[in-house]
C-alpha cells in the first residue's frame, strides 16, 4: 500500500512490507497473540511518520520489530536498502549508526549508576568506536544541542527532571548521527508543557540534521501536529493512513474519529459535543467488545456502522480523497449497505484540538 499525495522517492529510508508479529503466550498449546497483522509502511529520509492507536494496537510492536526486540513472524523490514527483518539484537552494531531509539520512560531508560557523560559516550564508543577525548568534545556538543548545561556531563540521571532526562535520551540517540530515530511514546510520560518543549526540540534537530522520525504515540492531535503523515492502527492493522493534517481535521475511519474524540479539549462546551460524538461513534471499549472476527474487520464489534459484510470480509485498503481507508463503507464494491455514502461519514471540523 502506498499513500497517495506524498512524495515517495524511488527508494525510501524505511520500507516495511506485510509485517506480521506474533507473541508467544505463556502456557501449553496457547495460540500466539497476533500483535501486528500485515502492516505496510514507508518512510522517506527526513520525514516524520506518526503511528497512532490505543493500547494494544500494535504500534509499539512495530517499533520493537524494527529494533529487533520483537519476533517477526513474516514480512520484511528494509532500512536504507538493507534487509534487517531478522537481524538479532546481538548483530545490530552496523545498523545502530542508522537507527536509534527514544523510549517512553525517562526514568528507566538511563542507567542510574553512570554519569550522563558516560551514558552519552556509550553509543559513541560501542557503535562509532570513538575514544575518550574525542567523545567528550562530541558530548558537550550534544548537550548544547538538547539545551542542557555543560556540567551535566558529571552528574547522574537522578539529578535531572523527566523532561531533562528525555532530552538526555534524545542526545544519546542523536550521538551517532542516525538516519532514523524511533520515538516510542517518547513524550507520553511528560507533562504538557514539557511535551511541547521536547517536540520543538525534536523538530529543530530534524531541521538541522535531516533525521527521520517514526513517531509512535496514542494522542492523535499530538501525532498529527508533529508528523507529516499518520498511520492509524487498530489491533495490529492499519485502519487509515494519509497526510497528518487531513486525518486530524477530518478523520474518515470510524476508529480514527473515536481516537480524535478521545482527547479532551479545554473548552467545556466543545468537550460536551465531543463526548456526545464519541458515544455515538464507539459503543464499547476493547475489553468490553465481543471478540473481533477472524475474517472480517477488527473494529466491527465496536463500530456503529458495522454490517454483515464487516463480520465476514476483511476490508480492502480503499483510496479516499488524499488518504487510504480500510473500511467497507468507503469501498463502493464492498456490499456494505452504506457503501458510497462515505463522505457523509467523515467527521467535520471540530473545535480546535491541536496543542
Amino acid at each position: 500500500m502506498t499513500v497517495p499525495g506524498t512524495t515517495s522517492p524511488s527508494s525510501p529510508l524505511l520500507r516495511i512490507a506485510d509485517l506480521h508479529v506474533d507473541y508467544k503466550l505463556p502456557g501449553w498449546r496457547t495460540t500466539p497473540l497476533r500483535a501486528v497483522d500485515g502492516v505496510d509502511l514507508t518512510l522517506a529520509e527526513g520525514e516524520t511518520l506518526g503511528v497512532v492507536g490505543e493500547s494494544g494496537s500494535g504500534k509499539s510492536t512495530i517499533g520493537r520489530a524494527l529494533l529487533g526486540l520483537a519476533p517477526v513472524t513474516s514480512g520484511s523490514i528494509e532500512l536504507a536498502g538493507h534487509d534487517i527483518t531478522h537481524t538479532k539484537a546481538g548483530d545490530r552494531k552496523h545498523i545502530a549508526s542508522d537507527l536509534q531509539v527514544v523510549f517512553q520512560d525517562p526514568y528507566g531508560s538511563l542507567n542510574p549508576s553512570r554519569t550522563v557523560g558516560k551514558t552519552l559516550a556509550e553509543p559513541l564508543e560501542a557503535v562509532a568506536g570513538a575514544d575518550g577525548s574525542t567523545a567528550l568534545a562530541e558530548i558537550r556538543g550534544l548537550l548544547s544541542k538538547v539545551r542542557l548545561p555543560d556540567d551535566a556531563v558529571d552528574r547522574y540521571p537522578n539529578a535531572f527532571s523527566g523532561g531533562q532526562r528525555q532530552r538526555i535520551a534524545i542526545a544519546r540517540a542523536m550521538a551517532v548521527n542516525p538516519k532514523l530515530i524511533v520515538c516510542d511514546e517518547a513524550i507520553s510520560a511528560l507533562d504538557v508543557v514539557t511535551q511541547a518543549q521536547v517536540l520543538n526540540l525534536l523538530r529543530d534537530l530534524q531541521r538541522d540534521t535531516g533525521v527521520a522520525f517514526l513517531f509512535i504515540a496514542h494522542n492523535l492531535p499530538v501525532v498529527s501536529y508533529f508528523s507529516d503523515r499518520v498511520l492509524v492502527l487498530y489491533r495490529g492493522r492499519v485502519m487509515e493512513s494519509g497526510p497528518a493534517a487531513t486525518i486530524h481535521a477530518r478523520p474518515a475511519h470510524p476508529y480514527s474519529q473515536a481516537l480524535r474524540a478521545a482527547v479532551p479539549v479545554p473548552d467545556v462546551a466543545a468537550q460536551r459535543v465531543l463526548r456526545r460524538q464519541r458515544q455515538a461513534v464507539v459503543r464499547a471499549t476493547t475489553a468490553q467488545a465481543r471478540p473481533a472476527p477472524e475474517q472480517g474487520c477488527p473494529f466491527a464489534p465496536r463500530c456503529p456502522h458495522a454490517a454483515e459484510v464487516c463480520w465476514t470480509t476483511r476490508p480492502a485498503d480503499t483510496p479516499f480523497e488524499d488518504r487510504v481507508v480500510a473500511c467497507h463503507v468507503f469501498d463502493a464494491a464492498s456490499g456494505h449497505p452504506q457503501a458510497g455514502g462515505a463522505p457523509d461519514l467523515v467527521a467535520g471540523e471540530l473545535a480546535p484540538t491541536a496543542p
Binding site: R64, L67, G68, L69, A89, G90, R92, K93, H94, I95, A96, S97, L99, Q100, V101, F103, D105, G108, S109, L110, N111, P112, S113, R114, T115, E122, P123, A126, V127, Y156, N158, A169, R172, A173
Partner: protein, 314 residues
C-alpha cells in the same frame, strides 16, 4: 565519596562505645562468680572473697567498667581469670583461624554465587533450574552434617585433606594453611552459596529487565558490554548487602564448625570461657565480634556507595 566515608565513620565510633558498654554490663548479669569457678567447689567463702578482692571483682560495677574501658582504649582487655594470659593475646591468636574461615568462605560464596546467579538470569531455562536446585540443596543441608560427610569422604575414605586441626599461615606456609581450611570452608559455604546465588539471580533478572538495558540492546551495544559494563554493576548492589549479612552470620555459625574440625578459633575460645566463667575473655570476645560486625557494615556501606551514586547523596 571521602565525605561519605567520614560520615559513616562518625556514626560507627559512638556505636562501638555503645556496644562496649552493653557487652560489659550484659556479662555482669551472668550468675556465678568467676572466683568461685576458679577455686572449685571445695573453696570456702573467705577464699572466694579474697580472690575476688585480688581480681578487683569486689569494686562497684561502674568502677570496674571505667577501668575496663580505659584499658580497652589502650588495647588492654585485662587478663584471663583462668589462665592468666592477657585477653587481647588470647583473642588475637584465636582470631586468625576464625577470620581465615569466614573470609575464605565469603570470597568463595560471593564469586561462585555471582556466577551462578548471573548464569541463571541470563541463560534461563535449564541453567536456571540447575542453579535453583543446587542453591536450595545447599540451604537445606545442615552444615554439621555436611561437615561430617566431607570429613568421611575427603579425609578418611579419600585422604586428600586433614580431618581436623589448623596450620598457621605465617609459620607453616600457604599449602598446609589452605588444606586445613578446605573442608570447613566447604561445609560453611553451602548455606550461604544458595542465599547469594538467589539474590544475584533476582538482582540480575531485575537489572536485565530495565529499560536502559533494552535501549542499549536495541541500539547495537554488544551483549557482553551490556552485561559487564551496565548490568553487573547495578546487580551487585543487593548482592554486596546480602554478602555482608552472610559474613556476619558466618562469624556466628563458625562456632559449630570450629568444634567439629577442632580449630583453635574465636568460637572455641568463647565457648570454653563461658563454661569456666572466664568473664574477662568473654567480654573481650563480645567486643571483638561487635567490632567485626560494625566494620563489615561499614565496608558494605562504602562498597554500596561506590557502586551506586544515589546512595552517596542520601
Amino acid at each position: 565519596m571521602t565525605r561519605y566515608v567520614l560520615r559513616r565513620l562518625a556514626v560507627a565510633v559512638p556505636l562501638v562505645l555503645v556496644v562496649a558498654t552493653i557487652s560489659f554490663f550484659l556479662v555482669q548479669l551472668v550468675p556465678g562468680s568467676p572466683a568461685a569457678a576458679i577455686l572449685g567447689p571445695t573453696a570456702t567463702q573467705d577464699q572466694v572473697d579474697a580472690l575476688e578482692r585480688s581480681l578487683g571483682l569486689d569494686a562497684p560495677a561502674t568502677t570496674q567498667f571505667v577501668d575496663w574501658l580505659t584499658g580497652a582504649a589502650h588495647g588492654d582487655l585485662g587478663r584471663s581469670y583462668v589462665t592468666g594470659q592477657p585477653v587481647s593475646d588470647a583473642l588475637s591468636q584465636a582470631l586468625a583461624p576464625t577470620l581465615s574461615l569466614a573470609v575464605l568462605s565469603t570470597l568463595l560464596t560471593l564469586g561462585l554465587g555471582l556466577v551462578m546467579g548471573m548464569a541463571a538470569a541470563v541463560r534461563g531455562g535449564r541453567t536456571d533450574k540447575a542453579v535453583q536446585w543446587v542453591g536450595s540443596l545447599g540451604m537445606a543441608i545442615p552444615n554439621f552434617w555436611l561437615a561430617a560427610l566431607l570429613v568421611f569422604v575427603l579425609a578418611i575414605e579419600l585422604p586428600l585433606f586433614p580431618a581436623t586441626g589448623y596450620a598457621e599461615l605465617a609459620t607453616e606456609g600457604l599449602g598446609p594453611w589452605l588444606s586445613h581450611l578446605v573442608l570447613p570452608v566447604l561445609a560453611l559455604s553451602a548455606v550461604n552459596l544458595g542465599q547469594i546465588a538467589f539474590q544475584a539471580r533476582a538482582a540480575f533478572a531485575d537489572a536485565l529487565g530495565r529499560d536502559y538495558v533494552r535501549t542499549l540492546q536495541a541500539t547495537g551495544t554488544p551483549r557482553r558490554r551490556v552485561l559487564f559494563k551496565h548490568v553487573l554493576r547495578n546487580a551487585s548492589v543487593p548482592v554486596v548487602t546480602v554478602t555482608g549479612l552472610t559474613f556476619i552470620f558466618t562469624l556466628g555459625g563458625v562456632v559449630i564448625l570450629e568444634l567439629i574440625f577442632n580449630l583453635p578459633g574465636l568460637g572455641n575460645l568463647m565457648l570454653r570461657s563461658v563454661q569456666t566463667n572466664d568473664f574477662s575473655v568473654v567480654q573481650g570476645g563480645v567486643l571483638y565480634f561487635s567490632l567485626a560486625v560494625i566494620l563489615v557494615n561499614l565496608v558494605v556501606d562504602v562498597a554500596t556507595a561506590s557502586l551506586d551514586p544515589r546512595v552517596r547523596v542520601r
